[in-house]
């Protein structure tokens, strides 16, 4: 009985703590107006890419009688060169981009953070080796390399593509994270932790990383935006045979000569604007992430 | 030039009346200066001492109106007098204000390195200052610059062609002094003049300030958290706490006959090196938050003399003895206690010798 009430007390305290943390989280999320708008936009894009496809029928059938129609109630964004609904294409073409952006961002950040912090903390030959490798890596033009790779490997699923994009972008992230870890490593509280014999694992995961979360979050969003451009570029060039994707739409519009017709403005602009807005929302959201991960704002005053 | 002034030496070059300054900080409105009133006398050296966040730097900046954009002088008057003319500093505009800032009242800031433009030679920085206010030929400017560098005991020919980074901290501090004196101001304001300098350099700067003041006859106002600088250099000392002057008096009165519990507390908390070994006592608590000030006397939370009256009513600076004013309801008691504490020790003996 007693243990029951204790457990209940513990639970209620845990819940109230959770509620408290959540309120602080919300406050920090909404503190930066731009960041909050960005976050809402991201949520909107996720809704668009994952939920909307259940409500909007896929644009399968072509209809030659309806080529390049202007936006109307029936076709929210008009139709393309084959008479397919553009809005439906936008709705169904977002998932790949969103998934791939997050995936690439995650993998790239993981590689950058692990290599960067190992390099900075351990130092010595490992650090020199990785730094040299990163410097050389950065001189390799990434896009042509991607194009060549696309010829060698069949990049027909987004996971492989995300992995390759992430691996290719490790060097920049590695350098950014390494520099940051170096600056934190010199702070007195790290020296104090060394003197207290707290061990390397504690120092990296409990002392250094929590102070880098804002920085990591920003690099994560940067990796995401870079990945989107890379993917759209590859798809646009026709090097990656993905179907139904905003990049594919631009590619189609391009190959169909849409840029030469005034009527086709919606066909070509819709995916471009979608990509641009998605990028913008990521960049804006990073401002909120900064606030959330800033330890000074965590408890307020 | 100095001789014209000789006839009006009896007028105070600077009078500050009931000055209030507040600025918008991150967490709210900071009441940095609250009703400060004092006179700067001709050729005197007046020290403002207090802990970090007591408003002393804001006060200095307010006098030459170099406050941050978010700050505002909400009340008060700053009167400047030279050659029989009185100027209301707070009414000056643009050009007049810039003229006042260099030619009448110059301020030397805390950080000696950041005050320089790193890509300009000392020469160019000095010429720029002169050119902005006076009409002088190139050779006259050089003459003037060299003579001031000589005054601050630097090798003028060498220093004038140097870049700031080529000079040591002590030399930069001296160049700054020379630059502040370039346009012959009547008042010099120094913010933490010797912090960050090592002891031997600090001593040379202090000696230099004394001789410059004797020679050139300006009034010196300096701001420091370091009591020893005030003991060394000041004729009068103002103790600041929470944006207000709580005690103002002659240096010997402040150090040997303090009448405000905060001044007494500060003196008892600071050790000397070559004096007798004495036990020290620190003031309990910490300095107040200038955003959320306590009611009544701002010191009452840390004060052993605090009574109900102190908690409700803020004492004003009232005269107490000649040339000595205090803002405290318990002056007599503090005075008695200070005497009792120091009775029979070297401290009082030294005081009597004064």
């Amino acid at each position: 009985m007693a243990s029951n009430t204790a457990a209940a007390n513990g639970l209620s305290r845990f819940l109230s703590d959770l509620g408290h943390s959540f309120r602080i989280f919300l406050r920090n999320l909404t503190r930066n107006k731009v960041g909050f708008v960005g976050t809402l936009m991201i949520l909107g894009f996720i809704f668009l890419a994952f939920i909307m496809p259940y409500f909007v029928p896929a644009p399968h059938k072509a209809d030659i009688t309806k080529i390049y129609e202007r936006p109307s109630r029936e076709h929210l964004l008009g139709t393309d060169s084959q008479g397919k609904d553009i809005w439906a294409q936008i709705v169904h073409g977002g998932r790949d981009i969103v998934v791939m952006a997050f995936l690439t961002g995650m993998i790239a950040t993981f590689i950058g953070v692990s290599l960067g912090s190992l390099s900075a903390v351990i130092g010595g030959p490992l650090d020199s080796f990785l730094t040299t490798l990163a410097d050389v890596w950065l001189t390799i033009p990434r896009f042509p390399l991607l194009a060549v790779l696309a010829g060698l490997i069949t990049l027909n699923n987004i996971i492989t593509l995300a992995l390759i994009l992430a691996v290719l972008s490790w060097a920049g992230l590695y350098r950014a994270i390494r520099a940051q870890v170096f600056s934190i490593k010199e702070r007195d509280y790290i020296e104090a932790a060394t003197a207290l014999g707290l061990g390397l694992r504690h120092i990296i995961f409990s002392e250094i990383l929590p102070n880098m979360m804002a920085y990591i979050a920003i690099n994560f969003t940067l990796a995401m935006t870079a990945a989107i451009y890379a993917q759209v570029g590859l798809v646009f060039l026709g090097l990656v045979p993905l179907t139904r994707n905003w990049g594919v739409m631009i590619n189609l519009a391009w190959t169909q000569g849409a840029i030469f017709f005034r009527d086709s403005i919606y066909f070509i602009m819709a995916p471009v604007v979608a990509i641009a807005l998605f990028q913008l929302s990521i960049v804006w959201m990073s401002r909120s992430l900064e606030e959330i991960f800033n330890p000074r704002l965590r408890a307020g005053r | 030039m100095k001789d014209e002034n000789a006839t009006i030496w009896d007028t105070n070059p600077l009078s500050v009346r009931n000055l209030w300054v507040e600025y918008l900080g991150e967490r709210g409105m900071v009441k940095a200066v609250r009703g400060v009133t004092f006179d700067l006398r001709p050729r005197e050296s007046l020290a403002f001492i207090g802990e970090s966040g007591c408003g002393k730097t804001t006060l200095g900046l307010a006098l030459i109106r170099l406050l941050v954009k978010t700050a505002r002088i909400s009340q008060g008057e700053i009167l400047y007098r030279r050659s029989g003319r009185e100027t209301a500093v707070l009414k000056l505009k643009g050009r007049e204000m810039r003229h006042f800032r260099w030619c009448e009242c110059a301020m030397v800031f805390q950080s000696a390195l950041n005050a320089f433009n790193p890509v300009l030679r000392i020469r160019d920085q000095m010429y720029d200052t002169i050119r902005a206010h006076w009409r002088m030929s190139q050779s006259e400017m050089r003459e003037r610059a060299l003579s001031l560098l000589r005054h601050v005991q630097l090798d003028p020919e060498r220093v004038i062609d140097s870049y700031p980074h080529e000079l040591s901290g002590g030399m930069r501090q001296r160049v700054l002094l020379a630059m502040s004196l370039l346009l012959d101001p009547q008042i010099i304001i120094l913010d933490e003049p010797t912090t960050a300098l090592d002891i031997l350099t600090q001593r040379t700067i202090l000696e230099l300030l004394k001789s410059l003041k004797a020679e050139m006859g300006f009034s010196l106002m300096f701001i420091s958290h370091d009591l020893s600088i005030a003991a060394e250099l000041a004729d009068r000392v103002a103790t600041m706490y929470a944006g207000a002057i709580v005690e103002l008096g002659l240096v010997y009165d402040i150090f040997y006959r303090p009448a405000h519990p905060y001044t007494l507390g500060l003196i008892r908390a600071v050790p000397t090196v070559t004096g007798d070994f004495q036990d020290l006592i620190s003031i309990p608590g910490s300095p107040p938050d200038l955003i959320d000030l306590p009611t009544g006397c701002k010191f009452h939370i840390r004060c052993p003399y605090a009574t109900d009256r102190c908690r409700q009513e803020e004492p004003t600076l009232e005269p107490y003895g000649p040339d000595h004013s205090v803002a405290c309801f318990h002056v007599d008691q503090v005075r008695r206690d200070a005497d009792a504490i120091w009775e029979g020790t070297g401290h009082v003996a030294a005081g009597e010798a004064a």
């Binding site: 020296e191 014999g197 | 090592d198 031997l200 000696e207 020893s228 090196v273 070559t274 030294a350």
Partner: protein
């Protein structure tokens, strides 16, 4: 010879590579007995902080040895090194950089306790944290446990730093300018707390400061070592150093230091040095490092041979100067 708790033998530390190499600490030897307080005094850049970090095992010496409880620190086995590592703690100068901004006071103090199994479980950790906060006078404890460093004042942060050092029950604490950045009115209470720890817990202190007055107050019963450009130039008991300094640099310092007492400070007769320039570590003068400024300079001697620390008079008063003889 007395048994020292920790001792340095010919400790030297250099930084940088090849042409940019500077010697921050040059051949420093000293020993500190158990329960003693030794003050390391000197101007910024004289190598006092590096010496402190070398003694605390946070930097490896370029040459020379450190012995802790009789054992050479850098050649001993892993278990002994661990004992040394926890036995020696450091308190930093900057209260705004010495605490991890991401952690609460409780997290900061409980981490070492749990990591080294100094307590049995989280409940005991909490009890010990409460106890430590009481030791450093941060009461009522409940007000501080869940605070983040940015919610505390400078003085309070320094107290948390001290409590953190005490978690591992050290026998030796290096306090590197531990009160310099704290407001004047609260410095003394911090110093008194440290003194109390020395008395009650028997902690030995190396107190590093540029402020002679603080050194005198804190180490009145101990000794002061004066450093100049990487070397110890004078080492003796505090009252002896204050009243009977022998080295010309120490004398110059005492004659120059402004005092918080108008009569005392205005009656000083400053010693005129031959030069105002502090030598750069990159371009050190030969022989005695102080000779270009020294009023006792003797040509052919001081600019050729670097003087060693030697005993003058009684009571182990040591001075490194050719011109000072017993």
């Amino acid at each position: 010879m007395t048994e020292y708790l920790i001792e340095a033998h010919n400790l030297t530390r250099q930084f940088g590579r090849r042409r940019e190499r500077v010697t921050a600490v040059d051949d420093v030897s000293l020993g500190i007995s158990e329960g003693e307080v030794l003050c390391l005094v000197g101007e910024s850049g004289c190598g006092k902080t590096t010496t402190g970090k070398l003694l605390a095992g946070l930097l490896k010496p370029s040459s020379g040895r450190i012995r802790y409880q009789g054992q050479d620190v850098w050649t001993q086995d892993k278990e002994s090194f661990r004992k040394y590592r926890l036995g020696v703690q450091i308190i930093h100068q900057d209260p705004y950089a010495s605490l991890n901004p991401s952690h609460t006071v409780h997290q900061i103090l409980s981490a070492p306790l749990l990591h080294h199994n100094l307590v049995n479980g989280r409940r005991q950790a909490r009890e010990r944290v409460v106890e430590l906060l009481q030791i450093v006078d941060l009461t009522p404890v409940e007000d501080f446990l869940t605070k983040y460093p940015h919610q505390l004042s400078g003085g309070q942060r320094q107290r948390v730093s001290v409590a953190r050092a005490l978690t591992v029950n050290p026998s030796f604490i290096v306090a590197d300018e531990a009160v310099s950045m704290v407001d004047v009115s609260i410095r003394v209470s911090l110093l008194k707390m440290l003194s109390r720890l020395r008395m009650q817990l028997g902690v030995t202190f190396l107190f590093i400061t540029h402020d002679l007055a603080l050194a005198k107050f804190f180490a009145w019963e101990g000794r002061i070592a004066v450093m100049y450009v990487g070397s110890v130039v004078e080492l003796t008991s505090t009252p002896e150093l204050i009243n009977n300094a022998q080295h010309p640099y120490t004398k110059a310092l005492l004659a120059a230091v402004p005092e918080a007492d108008p009569n005392l400070t205005r009656r000083k007769k400053p010693i005129t040095l031959r030069s105002q320039d502090i030598p750069s570590l990159r371009n050190l003068p030969p022989g005695c490092r102080f000779h270009p400024r020294c009023p006792l300079f003797e040509e052919g001697l001081c600019d050729r041979v670097a003087p060693k620390l030697k005993s003058v008079g009684e009571n182990g008063h040591q001075v490194a100067c050719h011109r000072v003889t017993g």
